[in-house]
């Protein structure tokens, strides 16, 4: 059995489904949105956040702690820096029982608030098979499971595999031109059909960047039969993550005016749109 690749576990989440939730961020994604607020999910499992602000050598502090460091011409990898310059982007491998035990410490809160566990990422569908034993345990505990997903599963088998476990689907739409895929709408229509047939709770989300054009968005939404939507204004709050991962960062935050116009246009065209402000 492969272990799950998780970047972080966030308790007390209030935006990732009904009630209060614990969100598990999983690695891997078929998209690489340049504004992604969890860019570490796009990296390999052996990668690190590198915080050069903590590097003694780079900040001009001479210290015996740096003896042997690769930055000082030594053999010790940066990942072993005692001051903590490096932090792994993947949590220490955790077997499913331990993971379940950790997230279920908030079971009473899930029950009282109507919340539960949310799988997010990255794209959790990529680890669908590995997730099954974990979801089995959560299901047996009677805790609700939500999944934030692109739903971009070409073969549909992963969606079908997870369908019995997921109570609430949060579908993150990839309508921006930066994410253009010729087969996107077709795959989405097929997968949505499966979800709709199962009468599961479905919520749609869309990140607004200025490349999104109203007409194109409306056509795509109509094609996917989306009538309600949570709109997120793109933000640059993850800039420091990009720096620590050595990735280029471009701020896609749109102007408030463009964002409001887009929002109004959606509502005017019978797409009931709420703003999700984080």
């Amino acid at each position: 059995m492969r272990l799950l690749e998780i970047t972080s576990i966030q308790r007390g989440c209030v935006y990732d489904g009904h009630g209060v939730r614990t969100t598990i961020f999983l690695k891997g994604c078929p998209f690489s949105c340049p504004w992604c607020c969890n860019p570490e999910t796009q990296k390999g499992s052996g990668d690190f956040f590198v915080d050069n602000g903590r590097c003694l050598r780079l900040t001009g502090i001479s210290s015996p702690l740096c003896d042997g460091c690769e930055r000082n011409g030594g053999q010790r990898p940066l990942s072993s820096c005692p001051v903590g310059v490096c932090t792994p982007t993947t949590l220490t491998a955790m077997d499913v029982r331990k993971l379940a035990q950790e997230v279920l410490q908030d079971k009473s809160l899930f029950i009282s608030s109507g919340g539960g566990i949310t799988l997010s990422g990255g794209e959790p569908l990529l680890q669908a098979k590995e997730l099954i034993p974990f979801l089995d345990i959560i299901r047996q505990e009677g805790v609700s499971i939500a999944m934030e997903t692109t739903l971009y599963d070409k073969g549909m088998d992963r969606v079908k595999l997870l369908l019995p476990f997921i109570d609430e689907w949060i579908v993150d739409l990839k309508l921006q031109k930066e994410n253009y895929r010729e087969d996107y709408l077709g795959i989405m229509r097929r997968n949505l059909e499966i979800l709709r047939a199962s009468a599961k709770d479905i919520c749609f989300r869309l990140v607004y960047v200025e490349s999104l054009k109203v007409d194109e968005a409306l056509t795509a939404l109509a094609s996917l039969e989306v009538n309600t939507l949570e709109l997120i204004k793109c933000h640059g709050l993850s800039q420091s993550k990009y720096q620590k991962l050595g990735m280029d960062f471009k701020d896609y935050t749109p102007s408030e005016e463009a964002y409001q116009k887009f929002l109004e246009a959606l509502n005017a065209n019978n797409i009931k749109t709420t703003q999700l402000s984080v």
Binding site: R11, V14, S63, G84, Q105, D106, L109
Partner: protein, 671 residues
Amino acid sequence: MIKNTIKKALKLVISYRLRMWRRECNRMHKFLNLPFWGCMFRIKLYVDKRPGSPSSARLFNKMSCKAEVRARDNYLYPFDPFRKRIPPQGTAPLASITPDYGLIIKSDLDKIKERLERCAQSEFRETMLLTINGIERKAGHMSRGEYRDGRYRRMALLFPDILHRDCDTLDEALQKLLFYNALFWQAGHFHNGLGRLDLILYPYYRNDVKRGVIDREKAKQMLMDFCHILGSQTPFKSVTLIGDTGQYILLGGVDKDGVTVDNELTHLFLEVFTEMRIPDPKVILRVNASTPKETWKEALRCIMNGCGSPLLMNETLIMRNMVEFGYDKEDVWNVGTSACWEPLIIGKSSDQNNPFLSILACEPLNAAIRSGKDYPTFEALLVDVKKGLVQEAQKIIKDKEYDHSPLMSMFMTECLEKGKDFSHGGSKYMYQGAQLLGLPNLINSIINIKEYVYDKRIVSLDDCRDIIKRNYEEHEDLRQLFGGNQDRKFGKASQEVLALTDDIIEVVSEGIGKVTANGNPVKFGLSSPNYIEQARSFPATLDGRKAGEPFAVHISPISSSIDISEVMDFASSIDYPANCLNGNVVDFILPSAYQKRQDKFVDILMDAFAKGVFQLQLNVLDKKTLIDAKAHPEKYPTLVVRVWGFSTYFNDLPEEYKDNLIARAETYETA
């Protein structure tokens, strides 16, 4: 010889009076921005040479009769802050008490006098009767006062009659309460709590509404006026910082029959504080499993509005510890607090919960390192740290000679029965309390030493000694190392951190359990108000803190990697020994996501309290606003912040307290 002795004694007395005079002038000059010389001419000191004696009562009568009466916000308030009663040198003031206003509102001075006539203790009887005489004289003066406004004339005419009977209306009850509250302040008591006002005022409110005398809106206006007048002299009532008045209104909690108090006044008070957004008085909400969700929601709305209130208090846990500690089970339903969060029993306690300096948690570790002793193992070092901690805890606890209080004694049944003053054997309970300061700093320091000195062996004890001695000079690398945001830090609910925290708390608990103060067992808590004051002269600590920097606040993480869910888990997993009940507050700055989704945050709070969080206070600030407010105070005249156990205007804080809040906001924003 005799002449010399008299001269010496006289000199001492005069110098004490001068010192007190200077202290008061300085305080008023600082808090009120009044010219120092102006204060000197206005302040009138009344040095009480024999508290608890008839002469003391005469002095109080003289002072209170001359005290000016404030007529504002529709009530009369006879507290004159320029007349100060000073207890004799070496006598600790009586502070942080919540009188039983339920009893006070119903009180009849004639009946108290009747009871006193039967009292065999002549000095006590005479002192008390003289005090009552003074109160009646004061009331007489008030009734004859000349007020242009008809409202104030009507209120004045309630006196002295209202002091000889129960009140008929909410309006009367508020006025009677204010009258006695002002006298407590005038007598030199400070941190005067107001107590369970929703419980004790509700019968008057209900009757008024039933009879059509007032409606809900009118009552709300009265409560607003009441709060305004109490808060109108905040700088005069403050002790260390402006806002530190201890004027708290306690809401919720169980009544004598174990039924949770949740009436119209509970909600009205929360509404009033949500709308008024004033820092003084403050609100504490006692919560339990039966506290309705709607009340939690209203409390949260109040917190979100930025008045810093209410502080939430887990009464189930607190009452359990109180009983285990030594309070009677039948009394704990009426738990109140001393100003901030230290529990006592309203109407039965003369507990002094904060009379000592705080126990410096980091001192024993620093001392062990400074000693130069070679500790071959971590365990050997820890043994010495624990021994030192016991000594440190026991060292600060001392017997004290306290002031007397005929006024408080008057409203405590036991005092009248025993013929003894409130603080000298009259009250049922007179426990004292201590505070452990800098526990998070100690835990993080110990974890650092274990990891870096003993496990990884990359730092030596000599390095640590040098750090303490030279304040990290030439050891910036080790400061970075020790202050790193590793997961193994105070606030992380891991087995290792919790076990160490419990172990240290247990050591302090046992140490304190072996000593007494004034013959009584002593409580302690983890929430000290002295995290800046006592840190000023304290050397560097091995958690990355430099000499003079503030200690961590209460049960709050120093690390930005620990979020509110984690710290509440941590706090609810701590094993609080019975005597560890003198304030164990989680203090956090609320993340903005929760400010936007209050409905869900209520669930988080309720769950955390069900799991065992002791007490919680929240600020709703962001770093950007605070920095701007520091640079441009004129733009933020009403920005309220929560400091240790009280709320105050940000602009009224000294710069170092502002910096401390900004630094903490930054830490928690990244959590």
